[in-house]
Point group: C2
Chain length 253, copies 2
Amino acid sequence: MANILDVEALLFDVFGTVVNWKSSVIKQLAQSHGIPEDILAATPTDWDAFAVEWRTKYYQQTKKVSESGIGSTNIDVVHRQLLDEMLETPRWQHLSAHWGDKKREEMTRFWHKLDGWEDSSRGLYSMKKDFILGTLSNGSARLLVDLHADLPWDIVFSGDIIGSFKTNPKMYLGAVEKLDLKPHKVAMVAAHRHDLVAAATHGMKTVYVRRPTEDAYLTAEEKAAIKPRADGGEFDLVVNSLTELAQLLESPE
Amino acid sequence: MANILDVEALLFDVFGTVVNWKSSVIKQLAQSHGIPEDILAATPTDWDAFAVEWRTKYYQQTKKVSESGIGSTNIDVVHRQLLDEMLETPRWQHLSAHWGDKKREEMTRFWHKLDGWEDSSRGLYSMKKDFILGTLSNGSARLLVDLHADLPWDIVFSGDIIGSFKTNPKMYLGAVEKLDLKPHKVAMVAAHRHDLVAAATHGMKTVYVRRPTEDAYLTAEEKAAIKPRADGGEFDLVVNSLTELAQLLESPE
């Protein structure tokens, strides 16, 4: 059956696109940080800033590994290393002594328990009838299996399964090859411009999902180009939710 | 929550264990073989024997690749090569001229459309609440995604994803590592003795599923050992269906 993108499979970025990492991690930090109240009162701790810094460092590290091939492709290892590094910096040093190895491991696992955006589960279940649905995430296989959100993947492609991180070409081409499809029969769905730009260089279709927590650092020019190709933009489709994507894919061409 | 096997994840062999390859392939051969009736009348063709021979050759080839590391780990490639070889043999030569490249490709894809045993889907859905469910199959990722049966996998481990075939240790250890579990926290579920014997050598738990089409070539001694360890047998559990397995895993220890 033809669809607006003329694809057979959809591959989804997960952090930020399908699950709301920011609210989930901040909630877990706020609920179970285990830091004595007097320490926090003396040096007020902003869990929002903590989560954003952790996430930003993670993004920088995956970029480095994807470009150099050096470094772990297991997200738990990366998250833990970055957490340890953060706790050595002046801003977060006051927390360091209170978090031993066990607590730091528990915090690293916070990233396994993210909630979906409210449209994600419903959108995926609608699309599952007509498409192969996979992750194409820098998360580890186990992390993607553990997520709190109810996400009916047909297949999980992860950093540790493919052995790299996006935006290394191996990630896109490896997944497309395993699906035994031509790249133009697969769409990359993401809330991040750089991920879709990379997917497009390999001939994949692109769907940009607008998410309030993501792509905060785009230039005005880049932001302006987030429009469907039909309107002079960079991507095949631009949507506000996965339910909107499901509807678009169902409508006759 | 404790369970009778004390595991967190179950990895399933697929061909024969979860899907009924034999009846599915015979049905497809009988329905859409495309051979003129006079040819078949002159040399009566037994589709049952054809399917069994194809399957047996496939088993021998995966064994060779798993031991030598030489040969494709993509099941479509293997099935096609074996089909071409079969059609050169005296027994099936009368069919050869009638099946061109396109038809042979279509027949190779028959293996993507297998039906489940009648208990499979229900059993897996019951177990999904409490366990991580994965395939550990020599099938390709795309084949496992394409199956007709409704199988709610959390994760797909395949020959082409891990880059070998069972019973190469890489298959068992690779999957267990990606699940970030100790081997004894993972059970291999299969209708084939050799698969479970291999899994056990790596410390995995073992569940034997009795299926009428499988393990036809066991010795009387081997057959007799298909009993739970508690009864002096080789395996942790022996069941007749995946619904029975689900029930056993739910019952208090």
